[in-house]
Amino acid sequence: MKRLLRRNETLVAITLVILCLVIGFNNPTFFTWGNIFVLLRGSIVTGIFAMGVLIVLISGGIDVSFTAIGIFALYSTVKLFLYFDPNAPIWLGFLIAATIGLGLGLINAFFIARFKLPTLIVTLGTLSMFHGFLLFTIGNRIIRQDIPPSLTAFARATVIQVPQTRGTASLHPAIFLMIAIAIMVWLLLKYTMLGRGIYALGGAPEAAERAGFNVTRIQYFIYGFVGLLSGIAGMTFGALARQANPQDIVGMELNVIAAVVLGGAYLTGGRGTVIGTLLGVALVVIANNSLILIGVPTVWQRVVIGLIILVGTGIPAIQERRAGQRASGLTEM
């Protein structure tokens, strides 16, 4: 029980429940299916991005270029559709976007694994590079009217419909895509040597190398995989929004990283879980979408999110320091 309480996930879960109750009691619309489905739909893209960010953070790195990869993959895919066959099926779109994402991710991996450059520097550079390249050579026009019909159809897809007082609430099937990715990442991290290697790399890079992990290969995997997930997330974003705007997505990176850190991943590497990350995503999405329901003006939402991050990551850090002091006592300084 004590262990459970000390876990970061528990704290995030409690905060989440309190936030939901506070909003829900003040404004009953919060607990309607309509609102819940909207929130779920709103967490799909952030959730997929967050899985990628989680892996990078565990490995002791940081990636800020994933948003640029996402929009690059989306926009290029839509362009390809328009050029070759506007009626191509949506799964092909996902496939192409994932491949483009993988390719761009491997560019990150090349600089990071081959030249051992700091991950933040590399991805800050590629963030600008990818986005700039997209705007300059592929296009800067917002594609909305002539969006391929398969995307429009995807946006309207629904799995569960619940009749409401006004209209019906429907759940978008892409939520299952996010859940499937989350399960896959969880299995990868928990049950494969590759996953354990990612934790090992984040915990003690030198020891990981000494133990016999192929650190270069692990890094290629990490950044390639993040690219791939970002491609999928980008495509999902465009398909849900029924548009491909080259200025979209970029700018979301800090929100996603914040969600993952709130979920208990350490910026210093070595720690983080899928469950925690999902809770962190839920917290950020609710704070972003539902504070308006209890009369927090839009401009104040950012302040509230900032507060949640400070408190949510500050409390566990302070707890840990206290625990550390208790363990070592004051006996030896």
């Binding site: 928990k190 049950y191 494969t192 040597m193 590759l194 996953g195 354990r196 934790y199 090992a200 984040g202 915990g203 003690a204 030198e206 020891a207 990981a208 000494r210 133990a211 016999g212 992990f213 590497g269 070595g270 720690r271 625990a323 550390g324 363990a327 070592s328 006592g329 004051l330 006996t331 030896e332 300084m333």
Partner: protein, 498 residues
């Protein structure tokens, strides 16, 4: 020899023309405990790295398990059962105990997936072999150094270790933890015939555990022999090439002068109970006790880093309030912490900057800018006075050996001319030659009228440098001992009595 596991003959190695090893010979037998002793820079770590396959030798032969190795790679060494436990243990602080123990084996077996039940049973097995009880699900980062070391040993066992090499295994352990470590080692030696090679410069431990001792100096094997052949004096002679005489510091303070610092009925929770002491000019007073006896807390309380609940402190007979280290410094108290790396030095910064860090305010001109000439004067003065061995004071402190680093910490304080110095573990991790010089330096400072309080559990050090020793137990000072009235055996048995 049938029982020989490893033999090195005529090993030489040089780096950029500098000879690190010259014709080193020695052999390691199965099921025996060997100690490799030598001062810092004598070539100990080069030998280990050659045995582990990390460095390639220039000449000489290596025979392991009867096989001659033309070229020894790290993988070869591991396959032959050689496991090196480095000082950082190569553990993953973020993973559990179980995973740390089992991970290397899983990697070596080429596994792609993790079977957690398997991981736990491997780890439980390994810990059972060394008969220690460590929770498998705990995170390694939360473990004490002693437990981390046992985990590292368990990990080595899982890799079919036949020779376990440990680099300075006891430097961060308490007396009791060392006993546990030694008993684990003896068990493994007897039951599984595993050989051990300790690299150490703590002489009393070498004498206690070693069955075969190998001494090297300046990259050459000076002597090798059985347990009975060595005593402390011979080890020191072999390591340093000269005898270091055992001295005592027989000093009687002038009782007519007020004490530099006097403490009356000092209390701080359960850590310090009813402490009374006085330190006079010229005295070197030892404070000893087990870990947790209050010896470090006393130092911290006097330096303002541990809040006191009641009691009075007088500096030169005047009541003084010490609530922070700034107060302490204002009263002329200096403190050399035990962990000089993290608390006493700016490792990445230059020697010069470390020396002047406390006095920099006095080295400025009217505009508040520092005067480089004055700085270098002060730096040179202390580098010379304390004989800090460096080609250039502009080099970072981390390039120095332990003994020289400690001198930089001392120089930093001495530059501000304190009346009282509290030294916590002044020679921990310092090799024997430098240790002797540091002791001489302490006596010289006392001779100039400083009062020194030395917190230490190094019994020979206490006996050789202090004019009296205060023994602490459970937060109280229980006895005052004059070194001339006691001996090592008596003091150490008093020390470990709980």
């Amino acid at each position: 020899m049938a029982n020989e596991f490893l033999n090195l003959t005529g090993i030489s190695k040089s780096f950029a023309g500098v000879h690190a090893l010259r014709n080193v010979d020695f052999s390691i037998e199965r099921g025996r405990i060997h100690c490799l002793v030598g001062e810092n820079g004598s070539g100990k770590s080069t030998i280990i790295k050659i045995i582990a396959g990390v460095y390639e030798r220039d000449s000489g032969s290596i025979v392991i398990n009867g096989k001659e190795f033309e070229k020894l790679s790290p993988i070869d060494a591991i396959r032959e059962g050689i496991q090196v436990i480095y000082q950082d243990f190569s553990l993953f602080p973020n993973l559990t105990v179980a995973e740390n123990i089992a991970l290397n084996q899983a990697l070596r077996d080429g596994r792609r997936f993790v079977n957690w039940r398997h991981v736990h049973s491997i780890a439980a097995d390994a810990l059972a072999q060394i008969e220690v009880d460590i929770p498998l699900n705990a995170t390694v980062g939360e473990m004490s150094v002693a437990n981390k070391q046992l985990i590292a040993i368990a990990k080595a066992l899982r890799q079919q270790a036949q020779l376990i090499i440990m680099d300075e295994p006891t430097s961060a352990l308490t007396g009791r933890e060392i006993k546990v470590l030694f008993s684990v080692i003896r068990k493994l030696q007897e039951r599984q015939s595993i050989a051990f090679l300790f690299v150490s410069h703590k002489l009393d431990e070498v004498l206690e555990i070693s069955e075969t001792t190998i001494v090297i100096r300046n990259g050459k094997t000076v002597s090798a022999g059985e347990r009975g052949e060595y005593d402390g004096a011979r080890l020191i002679y072999d390591m340093t090439g000269h005898t270091i005489t055992e001295k005592v510091y027989d000093f009687e303070p002038d009782l007519s002068q007020p004490p530099l610092i006097k403490v009356e009925n000092l209390n701080a929770g359960a850590a310090l109970i009813d402490i009374n002491l006085a330190l006079r000019a010229g005295e070197i007073v030892g404070v000893t006790g087990l870990l947790g006896s209050g010896r470090t807390e006393l130092a911290l309380a006097l330096y303002g880093m541990l809040p006191i609940e009641s009691g009075r402190i007088y500096i030169n007979n005047k009541p003084a309030v010490i609530r922070s280290n700034r107060d302490a410094i204002a009263h002329g108290i200096g403190y050399v912490p035990e962990d000089r790396l993290s608390e006493g030095l700016f490792l990445e910064q230059s020697i010069a900057r470390n020396v002047v860090v406390r006095t920099i305010d006095g080295l400025r001109n009217a505009l508040g800018l520092t005067i480089p000439q004055k700085i270098s004067e002060q730096v040179n003065q202390w580098v010379n006075a304390l004989r800090i061995k460096t080609p250039d004071p502009a080099l970072p402190v981390k390039t120095l050996s332990g003994g020289n680093q400690q001198r930089v910490v001392l120089a930093k304080w001495l530059a501000s001319n304190p009346g009282i110095m509290i030294l916590n573990g002044p020679t921990v991790g310092v090799d024997i030659g430098s240790k002797d010089e540091l002791h001489d330096l302490m006596k010289k400072l006392a001779g100039e009228g400083m009062g020194l309080l030395v917190i230490s559990d190094d019994i020979p050090e206490l006996l050789q440098t202090c004019n009296r020793v205060l023994l602490m137990r459970h937060g109280r000072i229980v006895e005052e001992i004059k070194p001339k009235d006691t001996n090592e055996g008596e003091l150490s048995s008093k020390l470990i009595k709980d």
